[in-house]
């Protein structure tokens, strides 16, 4: 356009004012000098002083990006050469670092076909440029979002029955961009089996002028089937006619997959709950709102659509258990901890069930209980098993204690209750240690570990007698058999307790009997020994005089004179008389031993004593012996008369014979009862016998322990033989120079 032909519509002043308002600056470039003349507005826009000189090609006072530099340089050269007008939006940076956008327009001035100057205008377009940038960025974001969400939007036009689809949607569906697409074309893209459904849905939406969302399948260009969710808004004109529908189509395949999985899992949960006779529940403790899972309705035989509250449950609780349940829930809310509870429910139709509730407590920020949630399981079957198990334990012949985790007693049968003196309620829940005396703690440790390792039925053997403590504190001797049982709820140990009290009594009886037997054996052995001794004595006591006789005969033969021989006869007489005494004694002893059933009669000790005193009267008088007696405990006995007299005469005779030359003899005869048996004692203060030296042969035949002229060594042998023949025994205690005591034990 040629400026000269243009009509002047505005004076210069007005033009300047408008240019100021629009912030349009003017400038020109002298080609010859290369100097830019900039007006005030241009200097302001560029942020440089008005008087500053700007020269072409020199480093300017403001920064330009490389692109701006190139565009200016190239554009000016082109303008000078060809006259092509310069019209660019350029980016600059002010001295302060602020980015500004300038619209620069320039034309050339020709003089004699030669370009002498360039004139132009410059306008600050930073603001509009920024708005444009923001818009662009938002549009990109929208596209990005659509792409990410697999979402497209569209606009259906009622009059043409065509749709304008967003870029992303055209990409998803595979239709041209920015061109109205007939609805039928889009419906053809729907999965064949869903087309009819989609048509009907759209028809319905148009008819009702309200858009109801729906889903349909669609086969993608790559062959995959996706699920598309379509939703929209119906736009009506002032008269209520449908003009447009703005809608969104979204690929919801992945959501649908998750949803399907969730549904499946939920179905599985329901199935599991049904199988486990289990349901879950929630109780809002503030509003009393209750939630039950489907299976709980079934367990409680309730209709699925009833309004639930705590009472729905509580009314089913067995009347006998209601107090416990009330207390349990109160405690859970109070202590913020829901313990396991097992109780009965009695349903309207009369069904009785055992249920177990497990739960958790939810608290708010202030720590107040707001919700209880947990599971509820029908354990009637298990409870029935447990009742059966308890019945089994109760019917066990011996006391049985069932011990569970951490040594806690879970069950005690009737026999256990009566053995230990506790009731089942007193023991269940307590540690088994309550029943075991603590002195066994240390010794039990290795046995317990061994049992837990081997897990075999074991009879507890601590190497010593084991006891349990009765409620009274008394200890009961017991034998315990441990049986391990691994269950779902952990290790259960059955302790079968055998009361050994009666066994102990029997054992002590046996021990007593054994002792008695030992005594009897001892007696029999003694009698055997006596027999052996007797044989020994016989040969020994006969051999000595016989060998003497032999020697005397030998000497007799060697002796020459008759006188000597006569003297020798005295020796023969001594030996022969000794031999005959020995033989007579032995015969007597033999006859005693061969008479097991000697005649017995009722005898009195005091009577026998006075008779003996008469016999020894001369000796007693001569020695001034004092004889004391005490038969107050027992004075009579059924015994053989001759033997009894022999006992008295031998023992009193001995006491008188072996009196101490330094003391007046004192003899004390007493009787007493020990374990129902009579003991008769003869105590003297005579010479006494060194029992260490002679103890083993004191009652032997021809044994004398003193160089006493009258000692013959027959008395004690005969006394012992007679006493033993009657089944008794004789013992002696003695101290040299103090005296002896002979005790006769009758049977």
């Amino acid at each position: 356009m040629n400026m000269k032909d243009d009509k002047k519509t505005m004076d210069d002043t007005s033009a300047i004012t408008i240019r100021d308002m629009l912030r349009i600056g003017t400038w020109n470039l002298n080609i010859e000098t290369g100097i830019y003349s900039l007006d005030k507005v241009t200097c302001e826009v560029l942020g440089i002083p008005y008087d500053c000189v700007v020269k072409r090609g020199e480093k300017s006072l403001f920064d330009k990006p490389e692109a701006t530099e190139f565009l200016i340089k190239d554009g000016i050269i082109e303008l000078i050469k060809t006259g092509q007008p310069f019209d660019q939006e350029l980016e600059f940076k002010t001295k302060k670092g602020t980015v500004i956008w300038l619209h620069v327009i320039a034309t050339r001035k020709l003089e004699n076909d030669k370009c002498t100057a360039i004139a132009g205008i410059v306008q600050d377009i930073t603001k509009s440029k920024q708005t444009q940038e923001t818009f662009l960025r938002h549009n990109q974001l929208l596209k990005f979002a659509e792409h990410k969400a697999k979402l497209g939007h569209w606009n259906w036009d009622a009059s043409s029955d065509t749709l304008i689809c967003s870029e992303n949607m055209t990409y998803i569906v595979g239709v041209p961009t920015d061109v109205p697409v007939p609805l039928s074309v889009l419906i053809d893209k729907v999965h064949p089996e869903d087309r009819e459904f989609v048509r009907k849905q759209i028809a319905y939406n148009i008819k009702t002028k309200h858009y109801h969302s729906f889903n349909h399948r669609m086969v993608m260009p790559d062959g995959r089937t996706r699920i598309i969710q379509v939703s929209g808004d119906a736009i009506l004109d002032d008269e209520g006619n449908l003009t447009n529908i703005l809608g969104i189509s979204q690929d919801v395949t992945s959501y649908k997959t998750i949803e399907t999985e969730l549904t499946k899992k939920n179905e599985l949960l329901i199935f599991a709950e049904q199988k486990a006779l289990l349901g879950h529940w929630e109780l809002n403790t503030l509003t009393d709102e209750v939630f039950w899972s489907a299976n709980l309705y079934y367990l409680f035989k309730q209709e699925e659509n009833i309004k639930l509250e705590f009472n729905t449950y509580f009314e089913c609780v067995h009347p006998d258990d209601q107090a416990v349940v009330t207390a349990h829930f109160a405690q859970a809310i109070e202590q913020k901890h829901f313990d396991k509870i097992i109780h009965r429910i009695l349903l309207k139709d009369g069904t009785l069930k055992w249920i177990r509730l497990l739960g958790d407590v939810e608290v708010d920020k202030k720590g107040n209980t707001v919700k209880l949630a947990g599971t509820c399981q029908d354990i009637s079957e298990q409870q029935l098993q447990e009742i059966k198990f308890k019945g089994l334990v109760d019917s066990a012949p011996s006391a049985t204690i069932i011990v569970g985790n951490e040594s806690i007693i879970q069950m005690v049968n009737k026999q256990g209750e009566s053995l230990l003196g506790y009731s089942s309620e007193e023991l269940v829940g307590k540690s088994i240690e309550t029943l075991i005396p603590s002195r066994f703690d240390e010794i039990r440790t290795p046995h317990r570990e061994k049992f837990l390792t081997n897990m075999e039925v074991t009879i507890v053997d601590l190497g010593e007698d084991f006891y349990l403590t009765h409620k009274s504190g008394r200890e009961i001797p017991v034998e315990i058999t441990l049986g391990p049982l691994q269950t779902d709820e952990g290790l259960i140990i059955s302790m079968s307790v055998r009361d050994l009290t009666s066994a102990k009594i029997a054992e002590s009886k046996i021990l007593k009997a054994k002792e008695d037997l030992e005594i009897l054996t001892e007696e029999l052995t003694a009698q055997n020994n006596q027999l052996a001794d007797f044989t020994q004595i016989t040969s020994h006591n006969l051999r000595a005089p016989v060998s003497n006789l032999n020697s005397l005969v030998e000497i007799y033969k060697m002796m020459g004179s008759e006188e000597e021989r006569n003297d020798l006869f005295k020796k023969f007489e001594t030996v022969i008389s000794h031999l005959s005494l020995t033989l007579n004694t032995l015969i007597e002893a033999l006859s005693a031993k061969s008479h097991n059933s000697l005649e017995r009669s009722e005898l009195s000790f005091s009577n026998k004593l006075s008779k003996t005193k008469e016999i020894f009267s001369t000796e007693i008088e001569r020695t001034k012996a004092v004889i004391k007696s005490d038969f107050s405990a027992v004075d009579s006995i059924r015994y053989n008369k001759i033997y009894m007299e022999s006992i008295f005469q031998n023992l009193i005779g001995n006491a008188l014979k072996y009196k101490s030359p330094e003391r007046v003899p004192e003899i004390e005869i007493t009787s007493k009862l020990e374990n129902g048996k009579i003991i008769l004692s003869f105590k003297d203060n005579g010479l006494g016998i060194d029992l260490e030296k002679h103890g083993h042969k004191i009652f032997g035949l021809n044994k004398v322990f003193h160089n006493h002229p009258e000692a013959k060594g027959i008395g004690l042998f005969m006394t012992k033989t007679q006493i033993e023949a009657m089944g008794g025994k004789i013992t002696v205690t003695s101290k040299v120079n103090e005296g002896s005591t002979f005790n006769i034990h009758f049977i």
């Binding site: 051999r543 000595a544 060998s547 003497n548 020697s551 030998e554 001594t574």
Partner: protein, 135 residues
């Protein structure tokens, strides 16, 4: 031999002692005899004379069964004296006991030369005396 043979009899049986004394006489060996009725008397005698060897017997005939101190008790006490004596005295145990235990016990004693069963015949006694003298 400067001193006559000294025979010692420890036995409580006077008939036995008499027969031994007689038998010794018949042996025609010059000797003297000392007798003790029990072990204690014999021990006392040996103790008293342990420093005068001439007074001690050359041979002891020891009985087992005696009152106060029997033959074994004598040997037990003799253990403390015997080794101190300048001349060892051979001891023969002479008893009527046939108890194998007695015989075994007697023979196991270090001072006992032999165990002899009663009666002790005169020729046997002579042989022992001769053996002791070393004839």
């Amino acid at each position: 031999m400067a001193q006559p043979f000294h025979l010692c009899i420890i036995d409580d049986d006077d008939i036995y002692r008499f027969t031994i004394i007689q038998s010794a006489k018949f042996s025609k060996i010059e000797h003297k005899t000392s007798v003790f009725q029990n072990g204690e008397e014999a021990i006392n005698f040996i103790k008293e004379n342990q420093d005068s060897p001439d007074a001690l017997p050359n041979l002891i005939l020891l009985d087992i069964d005696m009152p106060i101190m029997d033959g074994f008790q004598f040997l037990e006490t003799y253990k403390t004296i015997g080794p101190n004596l300048t001349e060892k005295i051979p001891i023969y145990m002479v008893s009527s006991s046939v108890d194998p235990e007695d015989i075994e016990k007697a023979k196991s004693c270090e001072f006992v030369v032999d165990y002899l069963s009663k009666p002790l015949k005169s020729d046997k006694l002579k042989a022992i005396i001769e053996k002791t003298i070393g004839l």
